[in-house]
């Protein structure tokens, strides 16, 4: 079971993905050739308002053919070690299925409750065509190290808001590998507020024409957190569209990294892609790194661009709020909240936004 991982265990330090969090550091024991025993998390689904989950939405153990269909077709390139490791240690593979044409107005919560020292789960995502849904994957529990591998596809013409959040927790390695079918419209959100160490590797493939993706990240790092996110978007279908907006508020002695790879394959005519990383540095000892990479192999593109901006809280904005009666602390908190709220408010409906804000708010006091 572990052999496919061991072939990829030695990573290339020159690859940007391992530059700030080497695999040795992200691996649960630090011995990269070790494939330790792990616990399986509890996984359940519910709706935000507590009503029952509609028919056609299920979570169940995946079959071999599910894994064959959704799990192995995607290539992690330089980052293969982490997903292969999670696949090797996870005892169970589950599949979240939403059948064709299902429309759910209330956000669906997939709760992953971890326990034990090492806890790993492989979750396949199989969204049918013309599905309209909002999915919140909530990672909680008290495992010392959590590994989550999410693989799968969003069906053609589906409209999906897919948010993954870890608001409390210890060490996390999360890998996403998801493809968008024809004309799928996906908003993929990540909210991370207090992982002591997180290595997040999110990859999306826009292989079919007309698909559209918005990746949003709202990251709050404090204390001695070490949060490293790598986001990769590959356009290979025609007339595809993607945007990435990643906001990190960095406080305490935290170290926050955002690396992105935007790749436009030859033949992806009419691709329109852009990525933005914003880092708000809140304390003297916080550190932020960003590497937004771009590889363009097609000339007939609408546009491809990326940008990154690092800076402190704007003093003019602080001054403005103080003239409105807020003390410095209140003004800072308001500006940090607004900074994090920009991508957060774009992750889905008001209901989803409200649910996320409620959970992240108390963590603002940490910085």
């Amino acid at each position: 079971m572990s052999s496919p991982y061991l072939e990829h265990a030695n990573t290339d330090k020159a690859a940007h993905i391992w530059r700030y969090t080497p695999w040795k550091r992200a691996h649960p024991t630090g011995t990269i050739n070790e494939v330790p025993q792990s616990e399986s998390p509890e996984i359940s689904i519910s709706l935000v308002d507590g009503t029952s989950v509609p028919d056609g939405i299920t979570i169940e153990p995946a079959t071999e053919s599910d894994i064959e269909r959704l799990g192995h077709e995607l290539d992690f390139d330089h980052g293969t070690a982490a997903p292969k490791f999670i696949a090797a240690v996870a005892k169970k593979t589950m599949i979240l299925k939403i059948e064709n044409k299902i429309k759910v107005e209330t956000p669906l919560i997939v709760t992953i409750t971890t326990s034990g020292d090492i806890c790993a789960s492989r979750l396949l995502i199989d969204i049918g065509s013309q599905v309209e849904a909002e999915i919140i994957t909530l990672i909680e529990g008290n495992a010392n190290w959590t590994g989550i591998l999410r693989e799968g596809q969003y069906g053609s013409n589906s409209i999906i808001n897919d948010v993954v959040t870890q608001i409390t927790g210890n060490r996390l390695v999360r890998c996403d590998a998801l493809s968008l079918c024809r004309d799928a419209q996906v908003k993929a959100g990540t909210v991370n507020a207090s992982s002591s160490q997180a290595k997040i590797d999110i990859r999306h493939w826009l292989n079919e024409p007309g698909s559209s993706l918005k990746v949003n990240g709202s990251i709050l790092s404090s204390n001695e957190n070490h949060l490293d996110s790598h986001i990769e978007i590959t356009h290979s279908g025609r007339q595809t569209h993607s945007r990435l907006e990643w906001h990190s508020a960095c406080g305490g002695k935290s170290n926050t990294t955002g690396t992105g790879m935007l790749r436009i394959d030859a033949g992806a005519k009419g691709a329109d892609a852009g990525q933005l990383f914003h880092n708000l540095l809140l304390s003297e000892k916080a550190k932020a790194n960003s590497i937004p990479e771009l590889e363009v192999l097609e000339s007939e593109v609408v546009g491809c661009g990326h940008g990154t901006a690092n800076g402190p809280i704007d003093e003019q904005q602080l001054f403005y709020l103080s003239t409105r009666g807020l003390d410095e602390e209140q003004a800072r908190a308001a500006l940090i909240a607004a900074f994090l709220n920009t991508p957060l408010s774009d992750m889905g409906s008001n209901l989803l936004h409200g649910w996320l804000v409620e959970r992240i708010e108390k963590h603002l006091n940490l910085i």
């Binding site: 020159a14 590497i291 937004p292 990479e293 771009l294 593109v301 491809c304 661009g305 990326h306």
Partner: protein, 468 residues
């Protein structure tokens, strides 16, 4: 010129070569003995020989980079490179004294004419050694030292010993180790305090022989409050086999000094151009790299500035043109070590006929560097479907007061712009050439006029045959 070579380089106009008239030519391949022989031939002090030997061992032990165009790098056969070739026995001060065939080469490249018209000084390097060298008398009287590096070592050993390898240690990377082991030629410049060298000084590097390695070493020290503009140009003949150019440039800008280093690299498409360029800027000093990469097979060049002194400033403006079979992997590195330092990087690249242009950059702000400002802009134009453009920027910010911005975009030539120019009577080809020249304008306006005109003509030539 062989058919292969003609195919590879197209209309490269500096692609002729002269018969080889070497007075000394080393066998192909590198060994400790070759390194010691180069040093002995130059009668160097022992400390320099020791550095060379240490660098040689470091080069041998150090693996090839595992990033960049590894495929092209692996094609370099270090055993098939000639590491030292001397075609003239002396560095002359009068063009008349330079051997005729070499003088003819530089006359065809327009160097003596340019010197008379608009330069403060010229050094011309042919293969491994400088063959001509001069500086305006008034500058010499003000104490400006402008020598080829070998003469610099002989005449100002103390200064060279103090600064050599101080900015780029031989252990910095594999190619800086190679250069330190076998360096020959290059420029040594010292500008005394308060002296402003108004007109640029120029170095021109020419590789003539096949399978040649050129490893010049340049050291420029601008003392307090002084300024200098150094311009270098490079060409080589067109051969079907590859040559290697691996230079190291070290700049030291003392407090308040200003160094501008302009390069128009137009090596033929069989030259590997693997160069390490780095400067240190002390308090309120400015270092500017104006870097044009038009030729070569593979260029890996990331001009760097270490902003060591408070209030220092760095600027890198680079353009790259990648045609068939070319990969221009260029960029910039800025390290903000002191407070109130600022930097600006502007990178522009054009890829055509399957060429690949990459921007690879790094900006770091150390935790103690307060109130730093960084602005990085990368623009790329892709002219056809076979070409490719990459951007690999890295930003590491360790101070909360730093304001760092990076933006990049990749696009094709706008149909609207083409249509507008064609409606004004230009052919599509002319319109494209105008747009490309306009795209490079932020770079060309920083060059001396003669270079800018030359570059525009060069780009128009490259754009010929782009349409249809």
């Amino acid at each position: 010129m062989s058919e292969d070579a003609r195919e590879a380089v197209g209309d490269y106009k500096a692609g002729w070569h002269d018969p080889e008239n070497a007075t000394i030519r080393f066998d192909y391949g590198l060994s400790e003995q070759v390194v010691r022989d180069i040093s002995a031939l130059k009668n160097e002090p022992e400390w320099m020989t020791e550095i060379r030997v240490k660098a040689f061992h470091h080069f041998m032990e150090r693996p090839m980079p595992t990033w960049g165009n590894m495929h092209m790098l692996e094609e370099i056969d270090f055993d098939k490179v000639c590491y030292y070739l001397r075609s003239s026995n002396a560095t002359e001060k009068n063009w008349e004294d330079v051997p005729e065939d070499i003088r003819n080469t530089f006359e065809r490249l327009g160097i003596p004419e340019a010197e008379q018209k608009w330069l403060s000084g010229v050094t011309a390097q042919y293969e491994s050694e400088a063959v001509y060298h001069s500086i305006r008398e008034d500058l010499e009287e003000q104490g400006v030292i402008f020598l080829d590096m070998d003469s610099g070592l002989r005449e100002y050993e103390g200064i060279v010993k103090e600064y050599f390898c101080s900015v780029v240690p031989f252990s910095d990377n594999k190619f800086s180790a190679l250069n330190t082991a076998v360096w020959s030629g290059g420029s040594f410049i010292y500008v005394p305090s308060g002296v402003h060298v108004e007109m640029p000084v120029q170095a021109y590097f020419r590789i003539n022989a096949k399978n040649m390695g050129q490893f010049e070493r340049t050291l420029i020290i601008a003392d307090e409050g002084s300024s200098i503009h150094y311009v270098e140009g490079c060409t080589a003949p067109t051969y079907s086999t590859d040559s290697l150019h691996s230079a190291v440039v070290e700049l030291i800008a003392m407090p308040g000094a200003h160094i501008r280093y302009s390069t128009v690299q137009n090596w033929s498409a069989n030259v590997y151009n693997l160069v390490t360029k780095r400067g240190v800027a002390h308090e309120n000093a400015t270092i500017e790299w104006i870097d044009g990469n038009i030729g070569s097979k593979l260029t890996m060049k990331y001009p760097a500035v270490i902003l060591k002194g408070e209030g220092s400033h760095a600027e890198v403006i680079s353009v790259a043109y990648s045609g068939k079979g070319q990969h221009q992997d260029a960029g910039a590195k800025i390290h903000h070590l002191a407070s109130n330092t600022t930097s600006k990087i502007l990178s522009k690249s054009i890829s055509k006929n399957g060429g690949r242009g990459s921007y690879r950059g790094m900006v770091t702000v150390s935790p103690k560097a307060e109130n730093c400002k960084v602005n990085v802009v990368c623009d790329a134009l892709l002219l056809d479907e076979a070409s490719r453009s990459d951007t690999y920027p890295t930003m590491e910010v360790g101070n909360s007061g730093a304001r760092c911005e990076h933006e990049a975009s990749v696009s094709k030539v706008s149909d609207d712009q083409l249509f507008y120019l064609m409606s004004r009577g230009h052919s599509e080809e002319e319109a494209l050439a105008l747009i490309v020249n306009g795209f490079f304008e932020p770079f060309t306006r920083e060059l001396p006029m003669e270079y800018a005109v030359e570059l525009n003509q060069l780009m128009s030539l490259e754009m010929e045959g782009s349409i249809g």
